[in-house]
Amino acid sequence: MSYVLIIALAIYGISAVLSYLNTGADRGKMLHTEIKQVDQYVPEFTWTSLSNKGRPIDAQTLAAIEKDYLDAWYVKHVSYLTNTTAGIDDYYTESARENIFNVISLNEQQKTNIEGTTLKHHPTLEFFSEDGQLAVLTDHDVIEYKRIFNAEKLVAEINEKSTYKVTLLLEDGFWRIRHLIRVKSTPIKTSKNTNPKEFIGFKGINYYPQASPWSMYGDQFDTKIISKDFQIIKSAGLNSIRIFVPYEDFGRHNVSKDKLEKLVQVLDLAENHELKVLVTLFDFYGDYSVLNWSLTQRHAKIIVNTLKSHKALLGWDLKNEPDLDFENRSKDLVSAWLDKMIAFVKSQDSIHPITIGWSNVKSAQLLNETLDFISFHYYEDLEELTEHYKVLKSKVKDKPIAITEYGISSYSGFWNPFGNTEDDQAEYHKTIQSIFSKQQLSFMSWTLYDFNKIPKEVVGKLPWRKNAQKHFGFIDINGAKKGAFKFISKE
């Protein structure tokens, strides 16, 4: 029996070898024609207007150079992160790749890994040869960010702005880097906010439609419902809402046109009802890995540029509760990303203020120098709020402060028999409103509606958490106003 098995395996092995040998070279692979293009690296890349020497360049060749040049950066980042050489051969000529291999072997010895990316490039095409095989460009003011790890421990963070002279050769259908020379470089400091934006106080509420919380822009998107809700919000005496733009759901760097249109419609409706909108970006984003920063940057660029001239826009909440990611993704990394993203959003929109919706008052002083106003979420004891606020106020000096989430669940039932009642909820809102008016605090409550379904990404799977989260609304599941509604905008 085993003999038969061995023979069968041997035959299978031989036939596998033969069939492999019989397959010819894949023509697609030979000519690099297969479509494998997945954008994984999209830093800001702006050509200065073309006035190169040599042959005038056509758009197609320029695009090919851009693509291969960026890929060259990308494979280099990957190589230095992992100390491997995959892909380097495709984007660096034989003599240039030696230099990268040298760095890798040094870093391997020292157990150094470098997680880096570039966020901006401003190339000028200097020269394109008559036979179309050689191009020279100067890449001005490349914004580089590196995290240096030694024995897997973060030891340094590097921010540099450098200018490179690059010679590229067209070899085997690839534009390969032949010479790379850094001709200028300056370290860059994290930007201080020198020009704080005007902050207009608000009275608002976090908004999701009752039927589709946390997935507002899907098939259930209905402008009639949203319009009706905005009418309720407006007539309750509020003047603003806070909404969320989920990063993955909107298609990351390939922002879905359809969803973007819906987002604009929401702002249009808000404008119709004279409501201002605080747009929270990067909802459910939790990756932060440096190599993907350029993708988040592209995402922000599209959203910000679509909305920045909208009359209903109040400002940007860069990310909802990023401090909750400190534990898993490290505080350094999350802060570095936030810092870069603040600077980027500012570079795209010079008018609207930027904040970060910190999950608690203790985190709220982080990065305060770069933000236009400070916002945090408050679900703790109301008696301590005034004290917390005063401490924060003294730390952030003259930066305006707002609470962009607060509220209490009126759930008491099987999972929490001693929970709060609707009366307790009303009392809570009454109290907090009195604090707001006393301290002249801007606020946005959580939230308009009680919900039927809570996605597990929001508070996890545990039923006592889910059930509590379902009952934060001012309006219950049947559409009836709860006691707290009276205190939605004032004491």
């Binding site: 095989q133 590097i158 032949r178």
Partner: protein, 403 residues
């Protein structure tokens, strides 16, 4: 006894003082750069030296044009960081930052390329250009040192070329690490030899073909051994030497088509490619009196004036005989212009009509001056037919042939 106290005092003092020192050190780590150069040449040994007080648990971040590394110091009275050769050999800005837990200090060096040349990296293209003075080839030169760094900008490069009797030197200066020169074609065709020189180093020889420009109009002539339309001999068409507008003979292999139009307006085409500017093409003579108008084209580029050729009738008469109850028709002997047999293969057409309607037509080819048509009884039943025979442009018709 007093010595004992003295010892105790001294030891106590020493301990206190050393303790104070340690405390001071912990509070005041200080570092300062001793090396004071701002520039180095690629390949130099580069060592950064820092005077320090306090902790020596520091490292140096160091990045060149290609990548970044981390260095640990050699400890002594000072902190010594030896930049590895593979990093210091690349030209460009070298950034460094001294780190402990925080960034302590930073700076940069400029690494110059060497001023001694090792290689002239040369790129030339396109490899063939058109004569006439408007087309050009481009020579790109990247002079590099022995560490593969492009030499500093404004390095002088001499570009030399030879073409026919011309020898020329041009001087260019590098910018962005390279220099380039457009070398324009001359009016003549030929081969241009190109080389370059930089800092005493000469490149190898490169060549570029200067091809003739596009052809201009030309003449054609025909060559034949006689002017009879014998359907056998061959007429050869030839072009004049085809030249471009600068009087260069066009490239070998230029394709020429000869269009022949006969009396009835039908066209035939034959073609040839040029050798030394002359294209030849052949065409068999017609088999009946004909007048050909021939015009040659290099498609889309140039053409000739038309020429006219007359072919005289070679077969003057048709002898036709009927036998075997008219069922065997013999055509011939067919005789050419010297009464010789026409060559085998002359087409003979036979048309058979009954009651003015075409019943059938047959084609035979002549063999040894004769053509035979057999009219079989099963195909042509008894009756009266009209028979028409046509060959070499001659037609004879026989009415009322009884089969």
């Amino acid at each position: 006894m007093s010595f004992k106290y003295l010892y105790i005092v001294i030891i106590t003092m020493t301990i206190i003082i050393s303790g104070l020192n340690i405390n001071q050190d912990k509070d005041h780590n200080s570092y300062s750069l001793i090396t004071n150069f701002k520039e180095r040449t690629a390949g130099d040994n580069i060592t950064l030296e820092f005077a320090f007080q306090g902790s020596s648990d520091v490292f140096l971040y160091c990045s060149n044009s290609y990548g970044s590394i981390m260095l640990r110091p050699k400890l002594g009275k000072t902190l010594l960081f030896e930049i590895p050769k593979s990093i210091s050999k690349k030209s460009g800005i070298l950034n460094w930052q001294l780190h402990s837990d925080a960034n302590l200090m930073s700076g940069q060096l400029y690494i110059r390329p060497k001023s001694k040349i090792e290689t002239l990296e040369t790129y030339i293209g396109p490899p063939s250009i058109e004569a006439g003075g408007t087309d050009y080839t481009m020579l790109v030169i990247v002079p590099t040192d022995n560490l593969d760094n492009p030499l500093a900008d404004s390095t002088k490069v001499i570009i030399k070329h030879q073409f026919l009797e011309t020898h020329k030197r041009d001087i260019i200066y590098t910018e962005h690490g390279f220099g380039y020169k457009n070398l324009y074609a001359y009016k003549e065709n030929g081969r241009m030899l190109i080389s370059s020189e930089c800092l005493g180093l000469n490149s190898k020889e490169y060549d570029v073909n200067v091809m003739p420009a596009i052809p201009t109009n030309f003449k054609i002539l025909a060559d034949r051994i006689h002017s009879y339309a014998d359907g056998n001999q061959i007429t050869t068409f030839k072009t004049s030497i085809i030249k471009d507008r600068f009087d260069n003979t066009v490239s070998d292999g230029t394709f020429v088509s000869f269009y022949i139009t006969n009396k009835t307006g039908h066209k035939s085409v034959t073609s040839g490619t040029t050798i030394d500017g002359i294209a030849t093409a052949k065409m068999i003579h017609p088999d009946q009196e004909e007048q050909w108008t021939v015009k040659a084209y290099i498609e889309g580029i140039a053409n000739s004036e038309p020429i006219t050729l007359n072919y005289e009738q070679a077969v003057l008469d048709l002898n036709i005989s009927f036998s075997e109850n008219n069922r065997l028709i013999t055509v011939g002997p067919l005789q050419s212009f010297m009464k010789q047999q026409v060559p085998n293969g002359l087409n003979i057409h036979l048309k058979i009509y009954k009651d003015d309607a075409l019943v059938h037509q047959l084609i035979e080819q002549s063999v040894d001056g004769f053509g035979h048509f057999k009219l079989y009884a099963d195909r042509y039943p008894k009756g009266t037919y009209t028979v028409e025979i046509k060959t070499a442009g001659l037609t004879k018709s026989f009415a009322d042939i009884k089969l």
